[in-house]
Subunit: 217 residues, 2 copies
Amino acid sequence: MAPESRPVRARAAAPDKRRMILDAAVTVFARQGFHHCRVSDVADEARVAYGLVYHYFDSKEQILNELFLERWQIMLDAIAEIDRRQEVSVRDKLYLVASFIIDSYRHEPDLMKVIIVEVTRAANSFGRLHLAKIREAYAGIATIVEGARSDGSFKSDISSEFAAMCFYGAIEQVLTAWIFDLLPRSDGEYEHAKGLVVDTICGGLEAPAADAPALSG
Amino acid sequence: MAPESRPVRARAAAPDKRRMILDAAVTVFARQGFHHCRVSDVADEARVAYGLVYHYFDSKEQILNELFLERWQIMLDAIAEIDRRQEVSVRDKLYLVASFIIDSYRHEPDLMKVIIVEVTRAANSFGRLHLAKIREAYAGIATIVEGARSDGSFKSDISSEFAAMCFYGAIEQVLTAWIFDLLPRSDGEYEHAKGLVVDTICGGLEAPAADAPALSG
DNA sequence: TGTAGGTGACTGACCGGTCAATCGAACCGA
DNA sequence: TCGGTTCGATTGACCGGTCAGTCACCTACA
């Protein structure tokens, strides 16, 4: 990631083969799944010799680890950054979090598919390995919710950890629906989903009592 | 399943080897993951010769398919049955659904782990294969929600399909947390979670406006 | 001419699936 | 009662394909 860790020699025309391998891996892992693809598929997709993959990476696993850690850290930073903005209401903070995750999928669907399918939901392999990082995301969202719980705007009988889990679970399920082609994919759908998730989790499904005047716009 | 489909010769002491293999597969798949275990692990766990696995099943995949289909159908039937009960409110119906799923996990954690990790969340392999069955579950929950939307007790601007997705997603995320050992497992926790999921999804996280008189409850 | 970058044939382990052989309960005919 | 026959259940050694990872070699730039 850090530029100084890569050789500076960068000839203008020299493509970053390492990056090409990572990008190819995203495509291949997304298309065939981590377990159903061969390292040669990745090399072919990257238009690179088989052996070069092992020049840059220790193993097939390491490629996935790197893809996950790189992207996940960006999300953790984004969540922390959102929480820091004091002028924003908690509901809007959650909207921003949903927005960030859904936009991540919009712009890099293959990468998000790989991360969700092969890591965050893979309880026996990469999920366990990266459990600490995954928890950090829950914790970040929980911190946001906790802000609203302590000032009374959110119910106090639902713990912030549990709320964070429901919130993240709902988003991941919607992403999964896109991954499985169960929901249509369009800019409008993405925008719509952001609002719906937040409305559902914050406002709930139940309609306000009909015989009472609406208390808030 | 049906007794008449198995040979009637059933000596009293004859163990149903086929069943033993299925049970062993649940244990092994849950412990090591479908991809990281060998057929010989299943045979060893069942205390049965390697070849016998192929006497009863065509392939390793077929074992998982059978485990999934058997259990999933029970859940689909349960959801349909819950929806049929006309004296129960929609919120209580959702509670019963959450209850059923969580109790399934409570009583057969390994089987549920395998179904969730290896099937419902495996977008590149078994998930795609069983997509139709998985959709049926969403659809069943959506049907329940639709009942409340049409009588005005649930908001009309959140589609029942989307609501079902959030609801199921929240539950699966909680199950995943148990699977990953992120949440403590006890009868109390299970019971508590049932109520919390329904409260969160139906009632939302936001507290009723404090300056207004409580309208219900 | 040293070295980082790049190549791809090869190897060896692993594992899903096969199959020829054996077991043993039930039935049969004498 | 007893050898014989049948056939599904059971065994586990073995086969063959697959594929992650290795390595000897090449190339081009500084």
